[in-house]
């Protein structure tokens, strides 16, 4: 593996890895169900089949993944598509190469104690709403659906509740009244009855209800520069991922679970299967971007992200994704 010396990061295009035959892909939480294709492809051996060396690097913070990519320390990221829009606003070119899902896979959960009072976005006034982090996609999505209901960010409290156990504990103890999270946290809260689903953005219908359109999220994105310089390499990776997407579609949650390392299933494998069941539907089979969805994502970010808002009109959405590789992979 090549290590870039940090002084050369002006060439933030990520071309640093070009000479290397290992593709480093950062994953914003390997055991998160929405990023499951990463680990699953590895488990299925599809990278090897394609003759490409891929190293998956786990990081719980999507932002670390993206920063590493821009700094040229990695060649790809499995994470939220909307970061590519954000980065264009900041003058960096990233593009989604394989789009795993056209819905966020996020769920707005309401604590069961509040389930009686919070029935729609309008009821969020004065509540404590959990997000993974201020400034993150979950924060923007929350601002969007509350904004649509006429509630400004000043009218509720945004709480950084993290994901996982801290989220669950916070919901249980009343630290948050509602909050946005993914599987398996959703599955756990539903199973114990500590939380109820308010907006299910794991389905197209639920996403449209909450956001008025699709919102492509889980994806493999890379720096435009790297993609341009290494088309064969990128194609191999895309082939592997698309193959995995198809595999997901043709197998049951239980079968998928059986393929995954036991560590990802934690102490309750049944819960993991439950989570897969809940979220499996978000993945498409082609790896292709839904163009309208991409526009909607720009719309959401353009309303709330301090970085995107002022540049909303200059942003060329077509530069934030490519369907070239996914198309070839499917054919």
């Amino acid at each position: 593996a090549t290590k870039n010396d940090h002084g050369s990061s002006a060439g933030a295009g990520g071309g640093g890895g070009a000479s290397s035959d290992t593709v480093k892909i950062m994953v914003g939480g390997m055991s998160k169900v929405i990023y499951m294709p990463a680990a699953l492809t590895q488990q299925l051996g599809y990278f090897k089949d394609q003759g490409v060396k891929v190293q998956l690097i786990d990081t719980p913070a999507g932002v670390t993944a993206e920063t590493s990519l821009i700094a040229g320390k990695a060649q790809g990221v499995v994470g939220f598509y909307d970061h590519t829009i954000d980065m264009q606003a900041k003058g960096k070119c990233l593009e989604s190469v394989v789009q795993f899902a056209n819905v966020p896979g996020e769920v707005e959960m309401v604590s069961s104690k509040q389930a009686g009072t919070i029935k729609s976005a309008k009821d969020m006034k004065g509540k404590k709403l959990g997000v993974t982090s201020q400034g993150s996609s979950t924060d923007f999505l929350t601002q969007y659906f509350t904004g649509k209901a006429g509630i400004s960010t000043k009218q509720y409290t945004t709480v950084k509740a993290g994901a996982d156990a801290t989220f669950i504990a916070s919901m249980k103890s009343g630290g948050i009244d509602a909050g946005m999270t993914t599987d398996p946290t959703v599955a756990r809260l539903t199973k114990t009855g500590e939380g109820k689903v308010l907006f299910d953005m794991r389905t197209e219908a639920g996403t449209k209800k909450a956001l008025g359109g699709l919102y492509p999220a889980s994806s493999l994105y890379m720096s435009c520069d790297y993609v341009k310089k290494n088309p064969q390499q990128v194609q191999k990776v895309a082939n592997a991922f698309v193959k995995t997407l198809k595999w997901i579609n043709s197998h049951s949650a239980q079968q998928i679970s059986d393929k995954m390392p036991s560590d990802y299933k934690g102490s309750d494998p049944a819960l993991y299967v439950q989570a897969l069941k809940g979220s499996k539907g978000i993945f498409n089979t082609t790896g292709l971007m839904d163009a309208a969805g991409a526009k909607n994502a720009l719309n959401v970010l353009g309303s709330f992200s301090p970085a995107v808002k002022p540049k909303k009109d200059q942003i060329d959405i077509s530069k934030t994704y490519t369907t070239e590789f996914a198309k070839k992979a499917t054919s």
């Binding site: 400034g135 950084k160 156990a165 504990a169 970085a307």
Partner: protein, 294 residues
Amino acid sequence: MSHDTLTADAGAMNGAIPTPAERKHDPRAQLRKHKALVYSLRAFVLVGVLAIWEISVNLWFDPFFYSKPSLIWKQLSTWFTDGTAQGSIWAQISITLQEAVIGFAIGAIAGVLLGILLGRARLLAEVLSPYIQAANAVPRIVLAALFIIWFGLGMSSKIATATVLVFFPVFFNAFQGAREVDRNLINNARILGASRLQVLRSIVVPSATSWILASLHTAFGFALIGAIVGEYTGATQGIGLLISTAQASFNSAGIYAGMLISTVLALIAELVLGYLERRLLKWRPPSQSESVAV
């Protein structure tokens, strides 16, 4: 009276005209001169580092990652004039400071008490030390998450993180300080009638003071880190959250600005500690370089 014990002030008041030699050796003038030198060198270092940073980022590096002083300054002035997304910057500072101060107090007191206790009680120390050693190796970042689960998202989880970070360095220094006490002093005190408790209070604690103070120098910084790591893991307010928000929105100037605020807080705490140290250790012989020749 052959004892020449005028204070310098009394001499001046008596209208005594200082001889040239006396004037040359006026310790206060020397002290002033030395202080001026130190402060100007400090300013020089600061300006130098900032200038190198600004220039090198302008010439070679990507401000996206490394930011630069002028951007950080802009970020700070935005925060201080327009406030932050979470409200007034002063509110954030006050929250983080409260968490750090409370965590510092609890951690330091517990560290000193337990350190001195174990330092003097050999069997207890032998039995417990592997466990304390082990506890010290628990990653605080994981603890911060556990504390949120145990204590909730409020201040208490951050205080707990700060406490834990402060406790260990203080404990280990107090422990060692208590063990290093000159045996002669203890023997003498016991002979003079000091009870075990009095030996502890009058001999062991003062002997360990410089050890404890040395650890406190690092400890407030740790308390701040604890509070920030706690906020970073989950919170509604505080500097840690500011940093995390800046990180999430790729605002490197914000990250550095947040860290800067935290370091300024640490420096202010250090001033207070330095004052305390000078008061507590005034009995100490001046080190060769410090002694003021008259």
